[in-house]
Symmetry: C2
Subunit: 413 residues, 2 copies
């Protein structure tokens, strides 16, 4: 298996000004090609330390991928140092220069003369055109070793990798790894792992549990000679896990529960209206994060104050007096109000204490009530996150409300 | 100046499963102590490669900070390998063991026996108790070199660094760097840099421009023997930049414009209601991200469909027919409606095309109208982001609306 090393160049990374997301992106992509990454190294824009890091990397790895330090200013030295150490001369390239000129022209800017520095490329190397910036990527192969240099900005680097670098590295591919995520809600990571049982010991596909922001997921990764075969291997395991986890599974390879919800609403031709207190717009925002949500989402109410819950949603004064704003009763009336006031098929609601402020009713942060109202259907659910973390509580209660909606549609409609 | 190297340990980082945020956090903290970070290195949970990376790091740096690989399972080898290579024996420590037992007891879990592996600590080293997990941090000093080992999870590592490791490294501190951020909106990065002019060349404090998500900011960093003196040096520069940038500045060291807006509303004892179309709750969500926002935010309307704009906000049917939903006229009526229907002092609104869908009116994604209504005041503003990026357009138009509100309060009230 080919060994690769990722060399990040940039003093701003060492100063903590920039989070190195390129390393993670490249590591995932290389793992999926069956190329082994054994080192990540970051150095600043310094000739001596970069040369040392480059030579160390080349001595122990088959492939070195360097990112960053390809700008037009004199402190950008990655190309010069790496090509010099690898033994490649540089030459001015008219096609690259035209590309750079064209980039500025399209944007309507004047090109600073020093940008043409970026048009020098290694003799005998491969140039990867940059669709989102001016510095081209560069590839060189020599004596069984391979060097790839790419610009640092992630929105330039990632498309360049997919379009040009992945094909350039094709000969090193040992397999194709395809991963799918089974996303669940309402079951903890360890309980989920218990249900997955002996499947977690499977070697190919592998099954790995993760948790994040109140959700648990299983990643199923299959390794084969191509994507089609890898998918064929993954499918039976995914289906078995789905069968075992049942209702907890809200989607496969979706970005979040909102994606599943919007798809379901579209399929069933239903509309939804939201009434939010503690999440204050986050549920509506997440539904409409999904492009095309306008077909199923018509309106939302953000009712923070009690008087507004009465005025906008018709929550009864006595309900608020007797049970408080954070109660199953209020959640139900909010959901009912959202549905009736908007004319949507379903109304959903959330009211709770996100924290960190102590509340006047003496209830703990993380106590949330969710409501759902449809014709001939009305329910409320209680959620206790046990955490005094405003962002977490808001996100998790929005997720739980969307999941309540998903389960309602799947079961009742 | 002391040189430090950050050594991250974990195969999951090399596989791309985890984003290495520890490196960024530690780099920032060390820079602020005047300690120079020249290398970041990541290796997997492998004895040979970890030992090699450790010895290389120790040979070229005064301080090595290793994170990750301190778990209770046999593949967690960071402590054993680093202590062995640095020449420190391990010994079972009762106090640490009690801490671990206590951690499990508090959580109500049974402690797996292998967790006591984490109670072995270097003889002659310093133990940093872990307030958020079981693996303690470890510090060793020998022959003018210093080794720090910390657990990998960021929520364990960062508090441990602040509480114990920063004091442990105090002798290496050469200065204190204090940074402040001047946050602006409505002016591009290069125009802002032009206004900052010769101040960008200042060496101490330094002034550096950044841009992110439609905003520009200037970071002023002063270096002195302590924080008080650093702040004294930074203040005149900050005041000068504020004077030059005037109305573009929406806050200093705030998390976002919502923080400035909530503070202003509180100060002036004003309430606001929102009417959102394309942002669909994001403005309300961002206002209420600020703890204590309930004093100034009573309600919000998310009006996605045209009929809902009429029904909930009283936007005139003829206005929508004649000018379309994405127009200054509609924005004004939405803001007016939000204010009148809710009884708030100010109503703000946003309507636009976030993309990526082509719209039925033939207008380009990124065209947004903002509205603001108060007693005897009504305005609308047009915003063109020029981008077909849904998330970006939604975030930037929410920011611009909050900024419109800020400018209104500062100027008119």
């Amino acid at each position: 298996m080919a060994v690769c090393e990722i060399l990040s160049v940039g003093t701003e990374i060492l100063l903590g000004d920039i989070l190195n997301t390129n390393c993670k992106y490249l590591s995932t992509e290389l793992a999926n090609m069956g190329i082994s990454v054994l080192h990540h190294v970051t150095v600043g824009d310094n000739d001596e330390r970069l040369a040392e890091a480059f030579n160390t990397a080349m001595s122990r790895s088959d492939i070195v991928i360097a990112t960053g330090g390809l700008g037009p200013t004199p402190d950008d030295i990655t190309r010069d140092v790496c090509c010099r150490e690898f033994g490649f001369d540089l030459q001015f390239n008219e096609e690259v220069a035209d590309n750079i000129r064209c980039f500025f022209k399209t944007k309507g800017y004047n090109m600073p003369e020093n940008n043409l520095r970026q048009a020098y490329v290694p003799v005998g190397g491969t140039v990867f055109m940059n669709d989102n910036g001016t510095a081209p990527g560069l590839g060189m192969k020599k004596d069984g070793k391979c060097l790839v240099i790419m610009p640092g900005p992630p929105y330039e680097m990632a498309p360049m990798f997919k379009k040009s670098v992945e094909p350039f590295l094709e000969e090193y591919r040992t397999c194709t790894i395809v991963s799918h995520e089974i996303r669940t809600m309402g079951i903890g990571e360890s309980a989920m792992a218990q249900v997955a049982g002996e499947l977690l010991d499977s070697e190919n596909p592998t099954v790995a549990p993760y948790c994040k922001m109140g959700e648990s997921l299983l990643r199923v990764s299959a390794r084969a000679e191509n994507a089609e075969k890898a998918n064929e291997m993954a499918m039976p395991i995914i289906n078995e896990l789905k069968a075992r986890l049942g209702d907890y599974v809200y989607g496969i390879d979706v970005k979040g529960v909102e994606e599943s919800v919007v798809a379901l609403l579209k399929e069933k031709k239903l509309t939804v209206a939201t009434a939010e207190s503690c999440t204050a717009g986050l549920v509506a925002k997440r539904i409409t994060d999904v492009a095309g949500a306008s077909a199923v989402f018509h309106c939302g109410f953000v009712t923070y104050a009690n008087e507004i819950k009465e005025k906008m949603l018709g929550v009864k004064h006595e309900t608020l007096e007797k049970y408080g704003a954070v109660s199953a009763e209020t959640a139900r009336e909010m959901a009912e109000g959202a549905r009736l006031k908007s004319g949507a098929d379903i109304g959903i609601s959330v009211t709770g204490f996100a924290g960190p402020d102590a509340d006047e009713e003496g209830k703990a942060p993380g106590l949330i009530y969710l409501g759902l109202s449809a014709e001939n259907y009305l329910t409320a659910e209680k959620l206790e996150t046990g955490r005094n973390d405003r962002d977490f509580n808001r996100f998790v209660s929005a997720s739980a409300l969307l999941n309540l909606l998903r389960r309602y549609i799947e079961k009742e409609i």
